[in-house]
């Protein structure tokens, strides 16, 4: 087990998102309240050429050659592979871990947990759209996290986890347990997702998506009384987690501390969040307890709030329940108003947004929040970011199947 004085810290960040492909670019977009949502062509069979989505415009190909296998051909890989491998490689490089100079034993001590909710479905769909027949036979091949680990030349334990829209948050939380138990010395954690015609149609038919097609940049409006659904996004965000003693001995820069995690389940419905906030609130309370912090210690809450009528109100109730009187004092925003909903990658993106808040001492806004819904009473930050000291943040994520997750991130000492 890890020494009690050691914390779990973030030493590497990599991102491929609709708001940019670097920590600074994403931070600039969040600070400026810039939306990454627009009309985009997402592929064939959709009968509608373009959809309102948050699409990744480019992938940062400035690869760190010391981190990634030269045999990997990015032009031959799927978008899902790109959204996993490229940000994971950047996170390793940012952490100063060059696997080419690691010993065999050191590579064995680097783990990899990816939150990817429907990898096979996306792979089958991509092949099917290209005229292939994989979905009819489902050939057995290693999943993406194992292929990515091989390409990144890391040999520790690897796993894919899925908790729907909280998937990458679960990956981060479980990476913390791997480090705390001493299973690994470093762990690449995060998640990714891609826009797909099947998922878009399925969410549309669930009536979960916004139908505000006339003005894409106004479509995602969490907590607003006129919200009518979320906007699908895509991308990948990965971090390198380490124990603080290990990071300090390597003289790594520390972006922030993963101070606490909390996980729970509503256990009421496969799709709809529970109107009783008790379980979502429990995830927040457990995360605060894990971080040994009280509600009043939190300077910013990054809400899951995807802009759905039921989900946003349920979350506001959970925040009020967990934070008590502090709920109306802590600035709260949903960055999905700008990024769209990255589905499996959303929790990791929002953890990154918390690190932006900590490092820049700003609260990113909820853009399009013109008239806050009475059922979503919180201390909102509408339209524009504000400057405030930010030392401790809480980031909520919720998913289909009633999964609840809260991450507490704080500034490095």
């Amino acid at each position: 087990m890890v020494s009690k004085s050691s914390q779990i810290v973030i030493t590497g960040i990599g991102a491929t998102t609709p708001l940019g492909n670097s920590f600074n670019a994403i931070g600039d977009a969040l600070q400026a309240g810039r939306s990454g949502i627009d009309w985009c062509d997402i592929g064939t069979f959709s009968r509608q050429q373009e959809h309102v989505v948050a699409q990744v415009q480019s992938v940062n190909l400035t690869m760190e050659k010391a981190v990634i296998s030269p045999s990997w051909r990015i032009d031959k890989s799927s978008r899902l592979e790109q959204f996993a491998i490229v940000p994971a490689a950047h996170a390793l490089a940012d952490a100063g871990i060059q696997t080419s100079s690691c010993t065999f034993e050191q590579k064995n001590r680097i783990g990899f947990i990816a939150g990817i909710g429907a990898e096979q479905l996306k792979d089958w769909e991509r092949d099917f759209l290209d005229g292939g027949h994989d979905v009819f036979y489902a050939n057995r091949q290693p999943s993406l996290v194992h292929r990515a680990a091989q390409i990144l030349d890391i040999h520790g334990p690897a796993a894919t986890v899925a908790a729907a829209c909280a998937s990458s948050g679960y990956a981060i939380a479980l990476g913390k347990t791997w480090l705390e138990t001493g299973l690994v010395d470093a762990c690449v954690v995060g998640g990714c997702d891609v826009l797909s015609p099947t998922a878009l149609a399925a969410f549309h038919n669930l009536r979960a998506l916004s139908r505000r097609d006339d003005n894409p940049k106004k479509a995602s409006r969490p907590f607003d009384q006129d919200r009518d659904g979320f906007v699908m996004g895509e991308g990948g965000v990965f971090f390198v987690l380490e124990r603080s003693d290990s990071a300090l001995s390597r003289q790594s820069k520390i972006h922030g501390v993963l101070a606490g995690v909390g996980m729970s389940s509503d256990a009421t419905h496969m799709v709809t969040p529970c109107s009783d906030p008790v379980q979502a609130s429990r995830a927040i309370t457990e995360a605060l307890a894990d971080a040994r912090l009280s509600p009043a210690d939190v300077d910013y809450i990054n809400a899951h709030a995807a802009s759905t009528p039921v989900g946003d109100a349920a979350e506001a109730g959970a925040i009020r329940d967990a934070f008590g009187a502090a709920a109306m004092k802590i600035p709260t925003s949903s960055t999905k108003s700008m990024s769209g909903h990255l589905i499996s990658g959303a929790a990791a993106f929002e953890a990154l947004a918390c690190l932006v808040a900590i490092q820049r001492n700003i609260i990113p806004p909820t853009i399009n929040l013109d008239t806050p819904d009475e059922d979503c009473l919180l201390r909102h930050v509408p339209h524009h970011s504000i400057s405030l000291p930010v030392r401790v943040t809480a980031s909520n994520s919720f998913g289909f199947g009633g999964s609840n997750l809260c991450l507490i991130l704080k500034e490095a000492a």
Binding site: W124, V135, F136, A159, A163, Y170, L174, L183, N205, A267
Partner: protein, 284 residues
């Protein structure tokens, strides 16, 4: 990073196995199984709860019910338990039918159930929702490493669960096909493969409680394993399923130097139906 061996000397991750059950059924039988009543004791699923569920969810739920039947803690409170479901290539027939519908009829033909019911989280979520378990629920694997990933994440979740919910246990469900369903271009299935489900009910256990004779799973260095049966990280569920039915200690690799060692309960197999085997603990 340190230069220690792949596991530190003081590393410990251990769970006691409180129950173990296996279930299998052919694809042609799954629909009928989904319509059956799913109940054991005070635990039951709502009527028609599995009507949109993937085949692996149906088998996974059946294996949970069978594990409940042999739980060493009878009538235990499961409301804070965690659920981890390690599935391999689930949702394939539904995915094929959905994509054919999307191609031929457009988005209107896409079932809204494909994401909530046929994704990697679906088996775990169905168990959590169906049986009212409020601990963490998540899916693991999805591909050929599903079994080893599920075992790994169950054992490593245990220390955290022991702190947040000391009485909670972990239901680890592993599901998969012996052979994948084979489909015609119109989405019709043209084979009748066997779907297997295995549930291990795990109790987080402190390392000082280690007893080599007790039913348990733990992570150890490969060199420390007592097991004669060693399987690679991509071992199919069928292998583990048969080893546990034969009550044989088994190790499954998680890296090139670490393994999960499974010491199954000393059991008396009790066959309820030809395709559903439940293990019961021998009387002390």
């Amino acid at each position: 990073m340190n230069h220690s061996p792949s596991l530190p000397a003081d590393f410990s991750a251990l769970c006691q196995i409180d129950s173990c059950a296996t279930v299998c059924a052919h694809l042609s039988e799954v629909q009928a199984l989904a319509r059956e009543k799913h109940a054991y004791g005070s635990h039951s699923l709502p009527t028609r709860f599995l009507r949109h569920a993937d085949e692996q969810t149906v088998i996974g739920v059946r294996s949970i019910l069978k594990a409940m039947a042999t739980d060493t803690l009878e009538n235990s409170d499961i409301s804070n338990d965690a659920v981890i479901a390690a599935t391999c290539l689930a949702g394939q027939p539904a995915a094929a039918r959905t994509m054919i519908g999307l191609r031929d009829k457009g988005p209107v033909a896409v079932t809204p159930h494909i994401v909530p019911q046929c994704s990697l989280h679906s088996v775990a979520s169905a168990a959590s929702v169906g049986f009212g378990m409020h601990g963490p629920n998540f899916g693991v694997g999805g591909g050929i490493h599903a079994v080893s990933e599920g075992l790994l994440l169950a054992v490593t979740l245990a220390p955290m669960l022991a702190i947040t919910s000391p009485s909670a246990r972990i239901w680890l469900i592993c599901t998969g096909w012996d052979q994948q369903p084979s489909l015609e271009p119109n989405g019709e299935v043209n084979n009748d493969p066997l779907c297997r489900g295995l549930t291990l009910l795990l109790k987080p256990t402190p390392s000082h409680s280690f007893d080599n004779a007790r039913p348990q799973i733990r992570i150890i260095s490969q060199q420390d394993s007592y097991s004669r049966g060693h399987y690679p990280a991509d071992t199919p569920l069928k292998e583990l399923y048969e080893r546990l039915e034969n009550r044989t200690r088994t190790t499954v690799a998680i890296t090139n130097s670490c393994v999960i060692e499974i010491t199954p309960p000393k059991l008396s197999p009790k066959v309820h139906k030809s395709n559903e085997t439940v293990f019961q603990k021998e009387a002390p």
